[in-house]
């Protein structure tokens, strides 16, 4: 046990004590646990909105990328500031609608705007998918801080478990109220530490910032500018565009907007917060200073750069102070993410689909889910291998897929229909998941594209597919009326409103998806064109039978699509069976994924249109 670890440990205990103290006098109902009873003033809203600037992501991730990647780290400075400028026009209409309809979550916003609780549930699901990598990166940061500051005596695996346990206990005990108290302490401490390090390190080791950059440029030519390929200028442009659009699509950021007292506050923050981003410069300077002082860190280890340099420079007690600041930057956002994810599943997914669930049950489920989600994140953290920034970019690729549907819903006449919104989000998220899981590149999927297209951020490329899909489906389905344009109605009769429009919308979409999936599947079945598996299997035995099966399966989807209007249940089952059949017979690759997703989504839409109480009134 060295003095650094003692200071870090004391900080963790103090944070926990503060959390318990904050809980006093408040029953932990769902509302207290998730939004602290909506009792936060302007400063806390500001801190919540500015929260991302001071997480492990910037502290360790930003400096790590400066150390390991060089110029690409500049994107972190650019996107936050553009996102805040964009928020001047984006957030006030969201806030107005949320106030008018008394909304409390992002999922509710979608459910109400598009008059579909299924879309609300889908949005909650996307939110959870994006939050997991975000939580993983906080755990990874905690692991790095504890293991580096223990001078190697605690392994990083043990450190990750300790960190995850701390966050979970903390969240179970105090919920959002304790988080807010610690957020203030965290921001002051990290501000002081980052500015000190960013000024001191370049002067101490190089004599100044300019001298430092000259030395780096001489030692590693090209490191301080974007490369011709790979993380090129095109990568920078597409990544900044993606993250700017996605910035307020995070469930916790979206909901933080609702807590503002009046819309003017949002506009004023839009002008002030970009300047806050400049703190990042000091974080970058720490990472750049480490390049020539602690060389040799590679892979995911680049995230250790700032701490390794601190270890080399300062006494253990001061390393402890830096580590304690880092601990809070992981603990506080980690807790917010954990509370948000648990609430998303309990309140927006489960209760969204079963509105009769009791408040108490939802609160218990949410608290019970916290350790489960933490365990999932620990599992992914131990799989490891990704840098902190890469993890956040993955989350961004998911949440940004919600952006087109939000912007369209704010227009006077929403050009996007409910099935169109579902189609766009499903296609966008599926594309991100597929490319991430298979480690494929964009050019390998679309060989006709120029090689430079590989530099485009995959999340941004998926966003283009997303917009195309929702445009096509929206053009083919009747328009959705958001509830704002209708006579005001209470929550109770929400389901009964406007039955015909959405019911036909769903079945029309199911028809289109089923038919398209069937046609595409037939194309693959008949020609066996893209699938090596068919030629191989067919050559061995029973070529005729195999071909028959591979044609019958897509035809099932075609028939299902055709029946979507008349018998939705049978149609849905046919399409889903067809999707499963295609998976079994054709196998899974990029080309079979297209009919698979089309038929699968079509089948689900048909079942939704059958189950939806609206259909019965229609």
């Amino acid at each position: 046990m060295n003095s650094a670890l003692i200071i870090i440990g004391l900080t963790a205990v103090m944070a926990l004590a503060l959390g318990i103290a904050a809980r006093r006098g408040h029953d932990m109902t769902l509302e207290q646990w998730t939004v602290a009873g909506r009792g936060f003033g302007g400063l806390l809203v500001f801190l919540l909105l500015a929260g991302e600037i001071y997480t492990t992501f910037t502290f360790l991730g930003g400096s790590g990328w400066a150390y390991g990647r060089g110029a690409p780290t500049y994107y972190i400075l650019a996107y936050g500031s553009l996102a805040y400028i964009l928020s001047y026009w984006l957030l006030p209409p969201i806030w107005r609608y949320a106030k008018q309809e008394r909304l409390v979550s992002q999922s509710h916003f979608f459910a109400r705007k598009y008059d579909s609780r299924w879309l609300g549930a889908l949005v909650a699901l996307v939110g959870v998918m994006a939050l997991v990598p975000y939580l993983v990166l906080q755990f990874q940061g905690l692991g790095i801080i504890v293991s580096v500051c223990s001078y190697g005596s605690i392994s990083s695996t043990a450190a990750i478990w300790i960190g995850a346990a701390t966050v979970t206990i903390y969240v179970m005990v105090s919920g959002m109220r304790g988080v807010a108290w610690n957020a203030v302490v965290k921001d002051i401490l990290i501000l002081a530490v980052v500015i000190f390090l960013g000024v001191y390190l370049p002067i101490h080791y190089y004599g100044g910032v300019g001298e430092m950059f000259h030395a780096i440029d001489a030692a590693k030519p090209g490191f301080l500018t974007f490369k011709p390929t790979g993380q090129s200028v095109l990568w920078f442009q597409s990544t900044v565009a993606l993250t700017t659009l996605g910035f307020f699509m995070w469930p916790q950021a979206f909901a933080a907007v609702f807590t503002a007292r009046e819309e003017r506050i949002l506009r004023r923050n839009a002008a002030l917060l970009p300047l806050y981003q400049l703190i990042l410069l000091f974080v970058f300077f720490c990472g750049f200073a480490a390049i020539l002082q602690v060389p040799g860190l590679t892979g995911a280890d680049i995230d250790q750069a700032l701490l390794r340099l601190s270890l080399k420079t300062f006494d253990p007690w001061f390393v402890g102070v830096i580590g304690a600041a880092g601990l809070l930057t992981a603990l506080v956002p980690g807790s917010i993410i954990l509370v948000t994810a648990a609430t998303l599943i309990a309140n927006d997914l489960l209760r969204g689909l079963n509105p009769d669930l009791a408040e108490g049950a939802v609160a218990r489920v949410a608290r019970g889910l916290a350790p489960v989600i933490a365990l999932v994140a620990v599992y992914f953290t131990l799989q490891g291998g990704q840098t902190i920034v890469a993890l956040l970019l993955m989350g961004y690729s998911f949440v940004t897929q919600l952006f087109p549907a939000v912007v369209c819903s704010l227009m006077r006449r929403n050009p996007m229909t409910t099935p169109g919104a579902v189609a766009g989000i499903v296609v966008g998220v599926a594309a991100v998941a597929y490319i991430t899981l298979t480690h494929s590149t964009f050019v390998s999927l679309f060989p006709f594209l120029p090689a430079a297209a590989n530099d485009v951020n995959i999340g941004f490329a998926s966003l283009i597919l997303n917009v195309l899909a929702s445009a096509v489906v929206s053009a083919l389905t009747p328009a959705t009326q958001p509830s704002a344009e209708r006579p005001p109605a209470g929550r109770a009769n929400q389901r009964a409103r406007n039955p015909a429009v959405t019911a036909t919308g769903w079945s029309t979409a199911a028809l289109i998806f089923g038919v398209l999936g069937g046609l595409f599947g037939l194309l693959i079945g008949v020609f066996g064109y893209f699938v090596e598996g068919i030629a191989a299997a067919g050559g061995q035995n029973g070529a005729g039978l195999f071909q028959l099966i591979s044609m019958a399966i897509p035809i099932a989807s075609l028939v299902g699509g055709g029946m979507a209007k008349s018998d939705a249940v049978v149609a849905g089952i046919l399409m889903l069976l067809s999707a499963v059949g295609m998976l079994l017979v054709f196998g899974f690759n990029f080309f079979t994924a297209i009919p698979l997703v089309l038929s699968g989504v079509g089948g689900m839409m048909a079942l939704v249109s059958a189950n939806d109480p609206k259909t019965k009134t229609a």
Partner: protein, 72 residues
Amino acid sequence: MKALGWLAVAPFVGILVGTAFVNRVEPLILGMPFVLAWIVGWVVVGAGLTAIVYLFDPANATSEAGGEGGER
């Protein structure tokens, strides 16, 4: 007022398009590589332009009651 809002387009053009033309290290500005200084410059200018838009936006002139009034 609407016309003033277009000021905010400038930082987007500067960062998203302009960066392609300034991808170099020298000359160092305030000790920073030129391309980094370019981005930092647009962050500062962007905040300034947004502040100008805020000050001249009639929607913000309506006092504490804001939200109900404004641009509608």
